[in-house]
């Protein structure tokens, strides 16, 4: 029997008080694709970063090709033939592709010979694996999909036999993801070993040979993919039976609450992010906005939330709002009945060092009921928080605990409680369930639907197509700052939406990956 390409034994790792990995063991046979699946925060990235020498494990052993190998740093991992594409790319943004490729793998003290060799090899690799990139492009000028290619090429250039990909499809359109999977299959055929981290069950089922499931820092199971089902994997991930569908009645749309006309947004760097879009949201309906991250959805939310400037027209409840940033800001939007659950609760929705009660007033601290002349009415806020925490089942129900000490799901509940309880006319909600376990997802989805049923207008932005499909009453797809089209969720599918996400309309079967690639590269979508 051949030795496993990788064997981890008893790996444990704590970040301060957080036990990210607990006594994890895993074996991956050469020439296979091994999936690792788990909730956000389960410890997948941590485990792989340990294998790649980025973090040092507190305990445990690593065997590569059957021999015990010490991997104190990434240098050692590279020497052992391991390459890793991180969830958040590790590229020097203002270097060229070529410079990024050779960084750390230079041949000699002088750059010139390394660069010319790398240029030659890059061409060979590109041809072999259909991984075309312009070697002289500056990394920050190319799209995320391209950047991911650079990361893969970096690993291949270092002659990796073992390739780790951490959630590679999060930034890709479905078609791009398909292309990536074809490349991975090619690599497997050549005998390379691949570890694929994802939390998308479908991807696991499609491509992996074996799959490991992680939950709360522990490895709960490793099974052959053919022997399992999505339902079973989901249960292993969460630890109990889960409902994968949202129950909801048909929408009864009312008046137009939000009317956006010819909206344009240019970001601080001068990049045109939102390009003349128009849409509306009615009372009692959920408009879902789908799209690959970085296609202008975030900017759209920021403008609606009142913290970016824009041009065009936004009409709420029949009255236009000022977009120049002069007369209207986040505060006045709130007074106009717009509530906003931001995409990133840790960076935006909460002050992590503030206690829960302080966070409950966040954004509403000028409200009359939280105010006491110049001062804040802390007693009133505390009281309010206690009630909200109870209604939303926030655990632990301690209003004086700092936000950073709540788990991801509970943090999101604090934000939701604050925004929903405002009884807004319009709720903006971005990535409502990112980093939240399935139990909490159910709860959050129910709250959103309940709000809709109270006749509120809801604008939902999510990169999770499943979530969009499950919640929305109408779906708009954004690509490169445009709205590619609107679809009725009952009459569309992921394939069609995926194509729109890549900026294309038409018959899915006639579009080639090459076209999609070109389109995306052209869009230069930038941010992850």
């Amino acid at each position: 029997m051949t030795a496993p390409a990788i064997e981890l034994k008893g790996i444990s790792k704590a970040f301060g008080p957080v036990q990210a990995n607990k006594d994890i063991s895993i074996r991956v046979m050469p020439g296979t694709i091994h999936g690792i699946i788990g909730e956000n925060g389960a410890g997948k990235s941590t485990l792989m970063s340990i294998l790649y020498g980025f973090y040092k494990a507190d305990k445990g052993e690593i065997f590569i090709g059957g021999t015990k190998t010490d991997i104190p740093d990434s240098q050692a991992a590279i020497a052992a033939g391991i390459g890793m594409v991180f969830q958040h790319f590790k590229l020097v943004e203002n270097f060229t592709v070529l410079e990024n490729i050779i960084l750390g793998a230079e041949d000699s003290g002088l750059l010139r010979p390394s660069l010319s060799r790398a240029r030659r090899e890059l061409k060979a690799l590109a041809d072999e694996y259909e991984l075309n990139v312009d070697p002289d492009a500056i990394v920050e000028d190319i799209g995320v999909g391209m950047q991911q290619r650079v990361e893969i090429l970096k690993a291949l250039y270092r002659q990796a036999d073992i390739l780790i990909l951490d959630e590679p499809t999060g930034v890709l359109t479905p078609a791009e993801a398909d292309h990536l999977f074809r490349i991975l299959e090619n690599l497997r055929r050549e005998g390379k070993t691949i570890i694929l981290i994802t939390h998308k069950l479908r991807e696991i089922m499609d491509i992996t040979d074996t799959v490991s499931v992680m939950r709360r820092g522990e490895m709960t199971a490793t099974v052959k993919t053919v022997d399992t089902s999505p339902q079973e994997l989901a249960e292993l991930m969460v630890g109990r039976k889960v409902l994968l569908r949202v129950e909801k009645a048909p929408a009864r749309p009312g008046d137009v609450i939000l009317d956006v006309q010819n909206l344009n947004v240019t970001d601080a760097k001068g990049v045109h992010r939102v390009k003349g879009i128009s849409f509306n949201v009615r009372a009692g309906e959920i408009l879902g906005i789908a799209g690959v991250a970085g296609n202008g959805q975030s900017e759209l939310l920021e403008v609606l939330g009142g913290y970016e400037k824009a041009s065009g027209k936004i009409i709420v409840n029949g009255t236009p709002i000022d977009l120049t940033g002069q007369k209207s800001d986040g505060q006045s939007r709130r007074r106009r009945g717009i509530a906003h659950v931001p995409e990133d609760r840790q960076a935006e929705g909460l002050i992590m060092d503030y206690a829960a009660w302080e966070n409950t007033a966040f954004g509403y601290h000028h409200d009359a009921r939280y105010r006491n002349g110049l001062f804040m009415n802390n007693a009133a806020i505390l009281q309010d928080t206690t009630e909200k925490m109870e209604r939303f089942d926030v655990r632990p129900p301690d209003p004086k605990l700092a936000a950073k000490n709540f788990s991801g799901g509970n943090q999101q509940k604090i934000v939701l409680a604050r925004e929903i309880e405002r009884n807004p006319d319009l709720l903006l909600i971005g990535q409502p369930t990112r980093g939240v376990d399935i139990g909490a997802i159910e709860f959050i989805h129910q709250q959103i639907v309940a709000l809709r049923d109270q006749g509120k207008a809801i604008l939902l932005v999510s990169v999770e197509l499943e979530e969009i499909l499950a919640l929305s009453d109408r779906i708009a797809v954004m690509f490169d700052g445009h709205i590619m089209g609107e679809r009725d969720p009952a009459q569309t599918d992921e394939k069609e939406l995926g194509l729109l996400m890549a900026g294309m309309t038409g018959n899915p079967s006639q579009v080639s990956v090459k076209d999609i690639e070109e389109n995306l590269a052209h869009a230069g979508t930038g941010k992850v």
Binding site: A221, G349, M376
Partner: protein, 376 residues
């Protein structure tokens, strides 16, 4: 979860850092051939052994309270105002103009007006760096350093020119009129025969400084503005989301900061020198950094740290007077305090965190977690 209990973070870390600074300072004294213990005794005696010593200690402390608060409020907005020096210089200018050109019937009016003048001038000097930071992203640290130099040049220009009385050899304004002179501790606390604080420069500004501590505490922890400043300091992106204007916070917090730094001038310019001289600030703007760092940006902490530095200053002056230890030793101590409490605090914190982590009880079994299902 917080690794360390709050008291450890707030008290233990700065205290150990301070201790390290003290040990190193003692080594320096030893290295130049003096006895650190004797030096300490001399310092304690000179700074705290008499009302005269206290009069100096509290005088210096008053300066440092103002500049320490100035740095602290900026720290709350995550701004590093190292321009306290220049702002205090300008504050002095404000005080001088008020005292020289407005006839006052009584010192109390002079104090109020001069405080406003000092705060306005100090704030004005912070305004340009603030607005450049807010609107154009120019790094506040660099611009405030530059403004320190520019302030020095400006004051120099005025004191050898327009503000210098004819025939005077010094670059200084003339004496302020009698009615602007503030009551010193000697005036305030001498009863009958007993003359306390004789000749010491501590004056009523000390109480203004205490009032400033209390006001700043209320501002930071009780008002909506303070809430916004702290929120911005913790997370700029979150502040933007909440509709808190970064421009407003940066500008307002630095105006307050500059104003506080400027207000130091009521102590040293109006209270002590009673005229404006070059270099009246004597580095107090920089001491403010050490004071704010040690005081963990809390007004009470700033107050205590300022007293400590007042002691170091007065004790150091006594050392310099009576031994061959140069006064620069104080600068060394100041540097070590900044180094250990500001830049090297992780050196203290990391082992402490490990200590507290190891002493923690094992976590209660998580209610949500269920036993692992099937391993291979």
């Amino acid at each position: 979860m917080d690794v360390m209990p709050k008291w450890a973070e707030v008290i233990l870390v700065p205290l150990i850092s301070l201790l390290l600074a003290a040990v190193l300072s003692a080594l320096v004294i030893l290295a130049i051939g003096e006895n650190p213990w004797d030096a300490l005794k001399l310092m304690v005696d000179g700074a705290l052994g008499s009302t005269y010593g206290w009069g100096y200690t509290l005088y210096y402390a008053t300066n440092f309270i103002f500049t320490g608060l100035a740095v602290a409020i900026a720290f709350h907005a995550r701004m590093f105002n190292i321009g306290g020096e220049g702002q205090a210089v300008l504050g002095g200018l404000g005080v001088a103009l008020v005292c020289l050109y407005i006839p006052f019937p009584h010192w109390s009016l002079a104090l109020i007006t001069a405080s406003v003048g000092a705060a306005l001038f100090g704030a004005a000097w912070a305004f340009i760096p603030a607005i450049l930071q807010a609107k154009r992203g120019s790094h506040i640290v660099i611009t405030t350093i530059m403004f320190n130099f520019i302030a020095a040049a400006l004051l120099n220009y005025l004191l050898v020119g327009a503000l210098k009385p004819a025939g005077s050899m010094e670059p200084a304004t003339g004496k302020f009129p009698e009615t602007t002179h503030l009551p010193s501790f000697q005036d305030m606390f001498s009863f009958g025969e007993a003359t306390l604080f004789r000749g010491a420069p501590a004056n009523i500004s000390f109480f203004v400084a205490i009032a400033a501590c209390i006001a700043l505490w209320a501002l930071i922890w009780r008002t909506r503005l303070g809430y916004e400043i702290r929120a911005y300091g913790h997370s700029e992106s979150a502040a933007k989301y909440a509709g808190i204007s970064p421009t407003k916070i940066i500008v307002v917090s630095l105006l307050i900061s500059g104003g506080l730094a400027g207000m130091m001038a009521i102590n040293n310019v109006q209270g002590e020198a009673e005229r404006l001289v070059l270099n009246a600030v004597e580095g107090a703007g920089f001491i403010g950094i050490a004071v704010a760092l040690m005081g963990r940006s809390h007004p009470l902490g700033v107050f205590l740290a300022a007293i400590l530095f007042g002691f170091l200053y007065q004790g150091g002056a006594e050392l310099a007077l009576w031994t061959s230890i140069p006064r620069e030793l104080i600068v060394v101590i100041q540097a070590l305090v900044i180094l250990f409490t500001g830049a090297l605090d992780n050196m203290v914190r990391m082992p402490l965190e490990r200590f507290f982590l190891s002493r923690r009880k094992p976590p209660k079994p998580d209610a949500k977690s269920t036993p692992a299902v099937g391993t291979n």
